[in-house]
């Protein structure tokens, strides 16, 4: 396990220094900042609509009427739509809207970032044969597991960065009464978002073990990630039909998105769903390893 940790740290350092990872992180940061700004504007519009409804003066800065807004039925409908599960809506309504938005946004975006970044982790070094310096000194399982953990750390770094950006945009364009609480929620949610990303990191690492072409690995990983969202939509539709409900249930069990609602649970209630995500991620890594173990390096 010592080797796994050394490789993970070395991988994180390598990944952060590549221009591709820098480009992905920049894209991630810009998307996060832009989406957060749009969300803040949306909150402002909803507050204005609420002010008109209550026949009170409109506010100039979003967040001034946040308490009234979060207690309104409109907000409950919005949150229910975002989370998609009635049983956790009460908990979600109790958290700062910006933190709620951050986690929702990360659930959508992080899989693509994680899969794309992880896809080049092994393939790029197999292509250049730089991987030989490590396989000479440690086993292939340790190498793959180390790269996997390194990419998980990179994903966590990206979610922490997103938390910082959301916080920055929030305090810049919105009235926030309890900044400490917001920051704590954002940091806590970065962990959940990272847990949700585990299967997608696994997907990227699997693709990276299958082919020695980083470009092809990236295409495979991103296509499979997009495909998983399509499959999720199909599975939900199947579950609602009478004839194919069982098939829909089965599909949802093996898709990371099928456990997404569980990731919204209060307190530590999300951990079982997080554990399943970890299991899915490791299963995907193991699937790719079947090829990598026999590969000429």
């Amino acid at each position: 396990m010592t080797d796994v940790w050394h490789i993970a740290v070395f991988e994180l350092r390598r990944a952060i220094r590549t221009w591709r990872a820098a480009a992905l992180l920049s894209l991630f940061a810009v998307s996060s900042a832009g989406a957060t700004y749009l969300f803040v504007r949306m909150v402002g519009l909803m507050e204005n609509a609420l002010a008109d409804q209550l026949m009170v003066p409109r506010t100039r800065v979003p967040g001034t009427m946040l308490r009234e807004l979060t207690e309104s039925d409109t907000w409950r409908e919005v949150v229910s739509g975002m989370v998609g599960a009635e049983q956790v809506t009460d908990f979600v309504l109790s958290i700062p809207p910006l933190a709620l938005f951050d986690l929702w946004f990360l659930f959508l975006l992080v899989p693509f970032f994680a899969a794309a970044a992880a896809a080049e982790s092994i393939s790029i070094d197999v292509q250049s044969r730089a991987i030989r310096y490590e396989t000479l000194r440690t086993g292939r399982p340790e190498l793959v597991l180390g790269r996997f953990i390194g990419q998980l750390l990179l994903t966590w770094f990206a979610t922490l960065m997103s938390a910082g950006i959301v916080f920055g945009v929030g305090i810049g364009f919105m009235v926030i009464e309890d900044r400490g609480s917001l920051l704590a929620w954002l940091l806590w949610f970065s962990l959940r978002a990272s847990a949700f990303a585990v299967p997608f990191v696994g997907l990227g690492i699997a693709a990276s073990q299958i082919t020695s072409s980083p470009a092809w690995a990236r295409v495979m990983a991103i296509t499979a990630t997009a495909g998983s969202w399509v499959a999720f939509g199909v599975a939900v539709l199947l579950q609602r039909s009478e004839r194919w409900a069982v098939l829909g249930d089965v599909l949802l069990q093996v898709l990371p998105q099928g456990w997404m609602q569980g990731m919204w649970g209060a307190g530590l209630a999300w951990l079982p769903a997080g554990g399943v995500q970890m299991g899915l991620g490791l299963a995907l890594v193991a699937l790719g390893y079947l090829r990598f173990a026999r590969r000429d390096l």
Partner: protein, 305 residues
Amino acid sequence: MTDVTKRYGRAGVLALDALSFEIPTGRITGFIGHNGAGKTTAFSIVAGFLPPDSGAVDILGLGPFDARKLKGKLGVLPQDAALPDRHTPVELFRHLCRLQGMGAAAALREADRVLEAVRLGDRRRSRIHTLSHGMRRRVAVASALCGSPALVLLDEPLAGLDPVQAHALRDTIANLRGTQTVVISSHNLGELERISDRVVMLSAGRCIRQGTLSEVTGQAEVVHWTLAHADAPLDALRARLPDHTFTLEGVRLTQRAGSEVDLDAASVAVMAVLAEAGVAVRALSRGVGLERRFIRDSEAATAPR
């Protein structure tokens, strides 16, 4: 390596054909062969980059390649592997040393030591991608020396180096003699002749000759004399040294010794006979030279029967 065979691709191109050879410990062994003779494939099998199709490999008495068993015992310079160039040399070596089982402080000390050994101490904090080709080559060689492994395989270590760098690196490698077992593959046979104790010759995936440098080049059997005039006293030489054969081609006198003869003493005797006959000697050399021996052997090995 015993009877190792390796084929590539769906076409089954034969890279190694029941290859067998031994590398004695504590010596520097030159690994010689044409392009495609199987040198890099043999190295790759020893280093676990490729699995053999058949045959047995025994590394340091520990069996075939196993990264866990050979941790810290095997250093390899792969021929065409790029370095992880986003890191600095010291970061890379520290990482490799940690993977070899060293503690943090020892790994850092070792990283500094090998960088000094290849004269790159002043570039320890430069990112590898900013180094020149020659410097990167030296970093790659140094990676194989990290932790002073018992067995070091160097595939074309001097390729692309300028004469000064090549000379310095050759000295570094020569200094490993006696403490580490080194195998060097190179097309530069002059370099190998200067540095190797033993030689393994490959042709078409087979070992066509192996032995000490002296045995392979015939240094213990043949002396070439270059005379001032083409009139050597052959009868007197044959009478004085009946176990030897002498042939004269122009001014070139070739002396072949019988088995187990002290060639140094015999050479003194030849010199005395030549001096008595008033024949001056302009030059003398022993053996056939590694390059000539390799060309002869490889031509013989590939000639149609």
